[in-house]
Structure formats: structure tokens, C-alpha cells
Amino acid sequence: MSESFTKGMARNIYYGGSVFFFLIFLALTFHTTKEMPERDNRQNITESVERGKHLWEKNNCIGCHSLLGEGAYFAPELGNVFQRRGGEAGFKMFLNGWMKAQPLNIPGRRQMPNFHLNDQEIDDLAEFLKWTSEMDINGWPPNIEG
């Protein structure tokens, strides 16, 4: 690097540039949080959805599954599992049956533990997954398989 470009100038670019871009980031964050109510379906968050989210966290579901593409990639994406597994007509019945059938104990197959949730809890979890699937997330995932 040429001698006319001094350490002081480099330092000022570091401090000035970071502060500048961080402020832009904060401004965009502010704008985003103002826009999100249009897309994140928050008007439909019921107490059941809230309990469902706590159950989701308490059992560390993210440790195997992904949700909106984040999490572990060991088990299927669940952000759109509501549509994939029956939707309004059949999802709750599917989830209840599925949770109670675990672990499947098929030799060599990845095993989902049985979390011993009662019917109310499974219903809460279903409500949480249903609510999640109804967010507007710019058309992801590409197809129903997640």
C-alpha cells in the first residue's frame, strides 16, 4: 500500500464506515419492524399458538428439524408441514397420530423421540405450526417438500 494512505486514514474508514453502515442497518431494521405486521400474520397469534411455540422450544425441536430453513437439517422442514400434511382438513389428526406413534423403531431409520405430549399440547403445537405456515415469506420454500 502506498505511503500516502496512512494508518490514520485506514482507522477512520474502519470507525466511520462501521458506524455509518450500522446506522443504515438500524434504520432498515426500524422500517422492517414497521412493515412486518403486514406479512407476519401476527393478528392470528392466539394463546394456543404462544403455548405451541414454548413447547417447540422446550423440546428443542430445532435440534433435528428446520423451521423456515433454519435449524438442523436432520429431519424435515416444518415451516410448511401444515400444508404438506393435510392442511385445514387433516393436519391436526395427522400430527396427533404422528406424535403418538413415535418412536417408529424401524431399524436403521432416524428416530424421533416420543415427547409424551397430551392432546391439548399436540393441539397447541399444531396451532403454532399452522400459524407459522401462514406467514408471507416471499414464496419460500420452492415446493411442498420444503
Binding site: 474502519y14 453502515f21 432498515l28 422450544e57 428443542n60 425441536c61 423456515l68 436432520f74 407459522t132 420454500p141
Partner: protein
């Protein structure tokens, strides 16, 4: 033979030793998970996959934090040209952090996660159960206390001593680390908001402030092993971290593509993350340039190898593999696939695991009273460890990338109705997972070679 310039630098040693112990644990759990990918019922529920994964990723975070703290305790006194403000505080915090870390990991392993949530009062203030932030709330509070004590100790040291670019950059990085961690306590019911601010910890750590820490440590080691003028190295340091932050802050946008956020993030995220590889590329140029311009032949060849290695691997893992799937139209298909896993593995190893091993390689001989460098035989063993681990990681990344490309091809590209299901796709990827597991075993062998180098002594000349 005591070759420490400041006696209080010695507090770094337990941090480094404990970091490496946790690293071994991380790799063992990685191998368990790798096997569960292909033998799904391996360990038959004794260690379910989610537990193994939590241990694998949490150990990674904690060992790197121990490594960063050890690095700071080692280099700050020397840069500030004064003893550490309180070596005693550093040792107390070491035991607090180590005990909290071990208890948390035991908690993961010994009781069901929901029980752990109950006994740590997660109901009162739910923060658990989110990827990488699985620690019980009380552990998170402990981390904050340790961070505050650590920053206080370093801050007081720098205040009474010389303020070099290296310790200022390191401090801003560490303060940023502590500040952004506070977002781990914010867990709104609204999943979209939860995830949005979750990235304030996860992204702004690894693609933001951690890069400052990495840059500062690399600059410190380069000054020591090359003898190149500090002014030159510090100027580079500022340029590189400026690029890292300028691209990385708005680069957070690449996590907001599919998250109930406005579509402009797809543009912001794509543009700024396209710039993100540049600082890593600059780091490669800089490391090689400085080593070529060296004014002394440092006896610690292994440390030089680690320093060059971390620059190259960080560029490949964080830069190239990050860029591969960071543009929004590509990410639409690759988001949450094995491509992400491939990128994560090489980026963490190259940028952060290797920078910690760089400074351990440089500092350990002095901390152990051996002198400037280990004997030749020990260094050769250490370099075997370097190459085995690094080459194994290249292959892990390539195999996971292969798995990811095939996964996208089978599961994501076809229309609904024609695409294979997730589990059916996973069956087709088994060969890649097997090869990844073999590469993982080679990585473990490299790690064993590396650790064993600490016990290698020069042959007595008869």
C-alpha cells in the same frame, strides 16, 4: 526457562488447555451425529440427535470463547506493555465459566431438554430452544457476568497501558460480542421477530465482531513471527476489518430473505454479501505478503503454518462457500440444505478454530516454559495434525456440498408432486454422508496427532 514478557500472561494457559479439551469433545459428538445421519438409530435414544447436535455446536461456541479469552489475556498485556489488571479475577472467571459450561453440557446429556428447561425456570423467562442459543437462561446470565468481568479486566489493563491498534480492535470486537449476546435474552412470541433478532447474535457474531477478534489475533501473531513493521501490519488490519464490517453488517440481509420481511432485503443482502469474501481474500494476500517480507526466521514454523492456513481456509470457507449460496435467487433453492452445513463447517474451522490454534501454537511454548518454539519433532507432529485436520475438513466440505447439490436437485428443483420427500432424498445422499463420516474420522486422527504433539520431546542425542 521463563520467556514470558509479562508474568500475568500465564493466565491464558488454562483457557487454552480447556479450549482444546472441549474441542476434542466437539469432534467426538460430531462423529456421533455423522453416524446418526446414516445409521439413524445409532445409540438407540441414549444420545438423541438433537442432544448430540446441541453438544456439538455449544461446545464449539464455548471452546472458541475460551480460546478468544485466552488469546486476549495473552496478547493484551504484551501489546499494552503492562501486567494484566487482575490475574486473580481472570482465574476466578475461568473456573466460573468452566463449571457453568460443564454443568450445562451435563444437563443436555443427563436429563431430557424439557426437564432442563423446567429446573432452570425457563417458564419465567423463556430463552431456550433456539438454535445455538439453547443454553438455560441461568447459563446465559453466567456468560454475561463472565464477559463483563473479562472486559473490565482487559479494559483496565489497556487504560493503564499502551493503546495499540491491535488491542483497540480486539476490544471493540469483544465488546461487540458481549453487546450482541444480549439479544439472546429477547425471545418474542412472534417467530418472525424472534428470528430477526436472533440473527443479531448469530450473524453479527460470526460475520461481524468475531472477524475483528480474528483480525487482531492474526495481526499480533504476524508481527511476532515476521518482525515486519507494526505500522504496516496495523494499517492492513484496519483496512481488512473495515471491509469486513462494511460488508458484514448489511450482509445480515442474506438471512432476511424468507422471513416475513420486505423484499428489499434480497437486494441489500445479495449485494453486501457479494462483498463479504473480499476482506477474507485481502487477509490471504496480507498473511502471505507479511510472511514473504519477514525480517526474521522465527523458530516456530508451525505457528506460521497455522497463520497462513487460517487465512486461506477462512477465505475458502467463509468467503467462497458463503458466496456460493448467498445470492437470493440461489439461496431460494439452497436455504437450509446441506450446502449450508458445508459452508458452516469450513467457515468455522478456517476462520475461528484455526485462528485459536494459531495463537495456541505461538503462545503455548512460552506458556509452558519451553521457549520461543517447540522442538523440531514436536513441530513436525503438530504440522501433521494441521494437514490431517485441514485436508479432512476440505473433504467434509466437498462431501456435504455434493450431498447439498443432489438434495437441491431431487427435493427442491422439481415441482410439488414430482419432488422427492425430505426423507426419501436423505436416503439418496447416504454415500456422501458415509464419506463425510470417514473424513470426520481422519479429522479426529489429525486432532489426536495435534494434541499428542504437546508431549513430543526432542530425541536425546547419544
Amino acid at each position: 526457562m521463563n520467556t514470558l514478557k509479562y508474568q500475568s500472561q500465564a493466565v491464558a494457559k488454562p483457557y487454552f488447555v480447556f479450549a482444546l479439551i472441549l474441542f476434542v469433545g466437539q469432534i467426538l459428538f460430531g462423529l456421533i451425529m455423522g453416524l446418526q445421519y446414516v445409521v439413524g438409530d445409532f445409540l438407540g435414544g441414549a444420545i438423541p440427535f438433537n442432544v448430540a447436535r446441541m453438544v456439538h455446536t455449544n461446545l464449539l461456541i464455548v471452546w472458541l470463547l475460551f480460546g478468544f479469552m485466552g488469546s486476549a489475556y495473552y496478547l493484551v498485556p504484551e501489546e499494552a506493555e503492562t501486567e494484566l489488571y487482575s490475574p486473580k479475577l481472570a482465574i476466578i472467571l475461568f473456573w466460573v465459566f468452566a463449571a457453568a459450561g460443564v454443568l450445562t453440557i451435563l444437563g443436555y446429556l443427563l436429563v431430557p431438554y424439557s426437564t432442563l428447561a423446567d429446573i432452570t425456570f425457563n417458564e419465567l423467562w423463556p430463552t431456550m430452544g433456539r438454535e445455538f442459543l439453547e443454553q438455560p437462561t441461568i447459563t446465559k446470565l453466567g456468560i454475561v457476568v463472565v464477559c463483563l468481568g473479562f472486559l473490565f479486566n482487559l479494559g483496565m489493563t489497556i487504560l493503564k497501558g499502551r493503546k495499540t491498534a491491535i488491542n483497540m480492535v480486539l476490544m471493540t470486537g469483544l465488546i461487540g460480542l458481549a453487546v450482541f449476546f444480549l439479544f439472546s435474552f429477547y425471545n418474542p412470541t412472534n417467530l418472525a421477530l424472534d428470528k430477526y433478532f436472533w440473527w443479531f447474535v448469530v450473524h453479527l457474531w460470526v460475520e461481524g465482531v468475531w472477524e475483528l477478534i480474528m483480525g487482531a489475533i492474526l495481526a499480533y501473531v504476524l508481527i511476532k513471527i515476521t518482525g515486519v513493521d507494526r505500522e504496516v501490519i496495523e494499517k492492513w488490519l484496519y483496512v481488512i476489518i473495515a471491509m469486513a464490517l462494511i460488508s458484514g453488517i448489511l450482509g445480515t440481509g442474506h438471512h432476511f430473505y424468507w422471513l416475513a420481511t420486505p423484499e428489499y432485503w434480497q437486494w441489500v443482502g445479495s449485494i453486501f454479501s457479494a462483498i463479504e469474501p473480499l476482506p477474507f481474500f485481502a487477509m490471504v494476500l496480507y498473511a502471505f505478503n507479511m510472511v514473504n517480507r519477514r525480517r526474521r526466521e522465527h523458530p516456530n514454523k508451525a505457528a506460521t503454518l497455522w497463520a497462513l492456513g487460517t487465512a486461506v481456509m477462512a477465505f475458502l470457507g467463509a468467503g467462497v462457500w458463503g458466496f456460493l449460496h448467498t445470492l437470493a435467487p440461489v439461496n431460494y433453492y439452497t436455504h437450509g440444505s446441506q450446502i449450508t452445513a458445508a459452508h458452516g463447517h469450513m467457515a468455522f474451522y478456517g476462520a475461528y478454530a484455526m485462528i485459536v490454534m494459531t495463537i495456541i501454537s505461538f503462545a503455548m511454548p512460552k506458556l509452558r516454559g519451553i521457549g520461543e518454539a517447540n522442538c523440531n519433532r514436536a513441530q513436525v507432529r503438530e504440522m501433521w495434525g494441521f494437514w490431517l485436520m485441514t485436508v479432512a475438513m476440505v473433504f467434509i466440505t466437498l462431501f456435504l456440498t455434493g450431498a447439498g447439490v443432489l438434495q437441491v436437485w431431487l427435493q427442491r428443483l422439481p415441482e410439488s408432486g414430482e419432488a422427492l420427500s425430505f426423507m426419501a432424498t436423505q436416503d439418496k445422499l447416504a454415500i456422501f454422508y458415509w464419506m463425510r463420516e470417514v473424513a470426520g474420522v481422519v479429522f479426529l486422527l489429525g486432532l489426536i496427532a495435534y494434541i499428542s504433539s504437546f508431549w513430543v520431546k526432542e530425541k536425546a542425542t547419544a
